[in-house]
């Protein structure tokens, strides 16, 4: 352990230990459930992780006899013994606090390495997949500036480029480190997402010029404040997709502890500026463009910005992207039209309405017919997307309506679902009220679909952006269409 801390530009080493009494440790570990705590403890004891997550063990050649009787958690003899112990804990019932105390005061009393903290943090992300807010950015190649170009000429996006950006984790990390300012230290940890085709990079940023354990010690208060100012940012690289998802930076300290929203924003900007530089190569420059998609749901993110066919075929267009449909030209069986009865996935029980039908009045029959029609329209507009249980919920959509106010119907459109249902054919360019719609919920587009199915929204007059087919969460509507989006198409 180094005695002197010298400011450097190097990154924080994974093996740096953080004192378990540090509030950050309690905070990171405290968020995990008991089962997750035990499972990451077992992960730490795994052979591959042991060098960076060594537990506190009894030494044979102890010069300091410190296993006193009062030690509540006597040190184990070997990692294998500890492994057994935690496996046993797994089967037993108990409180989370027991396990937490055992980790911080017992088996890792000498400190947890930054690597361990990173693993714990990632475990939290796996346990709570919606705990981060992600924004999608598109990697766009820039034109190589001509030789005689002025120095500060703004780079031009090369729209005609045919190269698909390529990404190599370790090279990327080295160049990214070079972009980070020297008075900020960061710890990087790559991990493969357990279920999704993603490579996650966790960046743990510390406001300290030192990269030794003294820099993150807690003995003196300013250093503790350092930790309070630390931030965690995740960057997710989806496989085979020219997009990057960046999470909103999170502070470990209390939000009131001086870290304003502005600073968090500037950090994000710093990263957004740094990443393209880190991804660029000589004579091959790229930049990041926002794609107006921000959500907590990574599955949805991968659906709209991933490697599959669904990127620019959302909503009703998803029938073209559905890989489950077998559509071989050698199959001579007449395909059923997509909206016919036979195609319906959940067939309406046929005998039940039939038996009831006789007793029904013509009025309720008509009702039934309209309800069925509404269901079919919803299927036509949404396809197989926007189902409440598909796990692809977007929790917030903001839309600005820039259309002139329709003359006939007076509607203020205050965040109501029926607000945008306006023909907007007037060319007079009359009064344009400032209408902003915010849809909020666990699964916004599934909610709209349900409203269409329920006949509350007229599915045939509903504008296309309400189906979620644009794949964006922030947008402006002009002439009933989302304008200037970069999500779908070109």
């Amino acid at each position: 352990m180094a005695r002197i801390s010298i400011p450097t530009t190097a990154r924080l080493s994974s093996s740096l230990h953080v004192n378990p009494s540090n509030p950050a440790v309690a905070k990171i570990l405290g968020r995990l459930s008991r089962a997750s705590l035990i499972s990451i403890a077992l992960d730490w004891l795994d052979e591959r992780n042991l060098p960076l997550a060594a537990p506190y063990l009894r030494r044979e050649d102890t010069e300091e006899e410190d296993d006193d009787e009062e030690d509540f958690y006597p040190p184990a003899d070997s990692p294998a013994a500890l492994q057994e112990l935690y496996t046993e804990l797994q089967g037993r019932k108990g409180s989370k606090k027991d396990v937490l105390d055992r980790i911080t005061q017992g088996d890792w009393r000498h400190g947890l390495s930054l690597y361990q903290l990173a693993m714990a943090d990632l475990q939290h992300l796996y346990d709570h997949p919606t705990s981060q807010t992600w924004s999608a950015y598109r990697i766009v190649p820039l034109k190589t500036p001509p030789r005689d170009a002025e120095e500060d000429a703004p780079p031009v996006v090369d729209k005609e480029s045919l190269t698909v950006p390529r990404f190599h984790p370790s090279t990327f990390l080295n160049t990214l480190q070079a972009q980070v300012l020297p008075d900020v230290k960061a710890h990087y940890n790559f991990d493969r997402h357990k279920e999704l085709p993603l490579l996650l990079l966790r960046i743990f940023i510390l406001d300290s010029p030192y990269n030794t354990s003294l820099g993150i010690a807690t003995s003196n208060t300013p250093a503790a404040a350092n930790f309070d100012m630390s931030r965690t940012v995740y960057i997710a690289f989806p496989d085979a997709s020219p997009h990057i998802f960046i999470s909103k930076p999170q502070t470990l300290g209390s939000p009131a502890a001086g870290v304003g929203g502005g600073e968090v924003k500037s950090l994000r900007n710093l990263i957004v500026e740094g990443i393209p530089k880190a991804l660029s190569r000589p004579r091959h420059r790229i930049t990041l463009n926002s794609t107006s998609l921000t959500t907590k749901n990574l599955v949805e993110m991968l659906d709209k910005r991933g490697a599959k066919r669904t990127n620019s075929a959302g909503g009703g267009w998803s029938i073209y992207a559905d890989e489950k449909i077998k559509d071989s030209p050698l199959d001579t069986v007449l395909p059923t039209p997509p909206l016919s009865e036979r195609d319906e996935e959940v067939p309406i029980p046929e005998d039940e309405p039939a038996s009831r039908k006789r007793a029904l009045s013509p009025g309720s029959q008509r009702e039934e017919r309209t309800a069925k029609r509404a269901r079919l329209v919803a299927r036509a507009r949404f396809g197989k997307t926007a189902r409440p249980d598909d796990g692809k919920g977007i929790e917030r959509v903001d839309v600005v309506i820039e259309d002139p106010f329709p003359q006939d119907t007076g509607e203020d459109g205050m965040a109501e679902d029926e607000g945008p249902d306006q023909p907007a054919q007037k060319e007079t360019g009359g009064w344009r009220p400032n209408v902003r719609l915010t849809f909020h919920g666990t699964h916004v587009f599934a909610g709209i679909r349900q409203l269409v199915e329920g006949g509350i929204i007229d599915g045939e007059r509903m504008p296309g952006w309400m189906t979620g087919e644009e794949g964006i969460t922030v947008g402006a509507v002009r002439n009933g269409r989302i304008r200037g989006h970069k999500g779908s198409g070109v």
């Binding site: 005609e160 390529r166 070109v490």
Partner: protein
């Protein structure tokens, strides 16, 4: 007991669905067969001409409709099988869609391992109709992001020259060009087919090296020259990473047409040119390499 019953129900349901499928196949075969057509079409026509409407069986009408639909489908299938690129028309369900929702669909067939894959679709519309221009623009598509569709569209389907109607401003160079849909689709298809061929070659390499799906376990004493893993290393499947059992790693860069652009192997002591020579031999193209590997094993 309950599980038994559930199992039986499940089995029966599976059987029902297979029987239904068979029924569809038989129906379409029967309906498409020349004898049925001969039986169906002329007498029915004659009868409807001769006899009164009440005699015309609604069932026959339905059958005739189905036969017509089957004919159309057959023709479509024929075109799709032979032409690889086919077009169709789509109605955009969005009531505010440009050009009254008229959308041109392009279907690109891909064959891989002797099977037609789900085709790729590109849907184009005409958003510049206000300016009196019939220029097309990619509206929706199902092409994966590893195919540079945006770049191809910018090259072959540039937006119309100004007067700009408040749309996105374009650089002057590209706006002078004419749109060329045929070239766009041709080059797009070439990219897609190349991509699938590259994927296929990687799979061939794996198979040739004995790393197929049911990977045979590496023995206790792996030979030094044995390959441990072959996989595509980037989204376009242009780079292939190769791993040997003794820890050496290599990278093969594949050209557009499947030629080996470069192959580098790294061992403990830096570049391992011998391994490259051993692996590559006389092979110039990646499929030759695959054949070579298959012959060695």
């Amino acid at each position: 007991m309950a599980s038994n019953l559930e199992d039986e129900i499940e089995r029966l349901q599976v059987r029902v669905s297979t029987l239904k499928k068979q029924l569809h196949i038989q129906t379409s075969t029967l309906i498409a067969s020349p004898s049925t057509q001969a039986l169906l079409a002329p007498p029915l026509k004659a009868r409807t001409l001769l006899t009164l409407p009440e005699d015309s069986n609604p069932f026959h009408e339905k059958l005739l409709d189905q036969s017509v639909a089957q004919d159309a489908h057959k023709q479509q299938c024929l075109y799709r099988t032979c032409a690889a690129i086919t077009t169709f028309r789509v109605q955009d369900p969005d009531p505010h869609a440009v050009d009254a929702g008229a959308v041109l669909g392009i279907r690109i067939e891909v064959v891989s391992r002797a099977k037609f894959l789900r085709p790729y679709y590109v849907l184009l519309n005409r958003p510049y109709a206000d300016a009196g221009s019939r220029y097309l623009r990619v509206h929706r598509h199902t092409v994966p992001p590893c195919i540079p569709l945006d770049g191809l569209a910018a090259r072959h389907l540039p937006p119309p020259p100004p007067p700009r109607s408040g749309d996105d401003g374009e650089s002057e160079g590209s706006s002078r060009k004419k749109q060329d849909l045929a070239r766009f689709v041709r080059s797009l298809r070439r990219e897609i087919v190349r991509y699938h061929h590259r994927l296929g070659v990687v799979a061939d390499l794996r198979k040739a090296a004995g790393l197929g799906r049911n990977k045979k376990p590496v023995g206790d004493d792996p030979q030094p020259g044995q390959l441990a893993d072959i996989s595509s290393a980037d989204s376009e499947a242009k780079q292939i990473s190769i791993e040997w059992t003794d820890g050496r790693v290599g990278r093969l860069v594949m050209g557009n047409d499947g030629e080996v652009v470069q192959l580098v192997a790294l061992g403990d002591k830096g570049r391992d040119r011998e391994a490259v020579r051993d692996l590559l031999g006389e092979a110039v193209r990646v499929d030759e390499l695959a054949r070579r590997l298959a012959a060695v094993d």
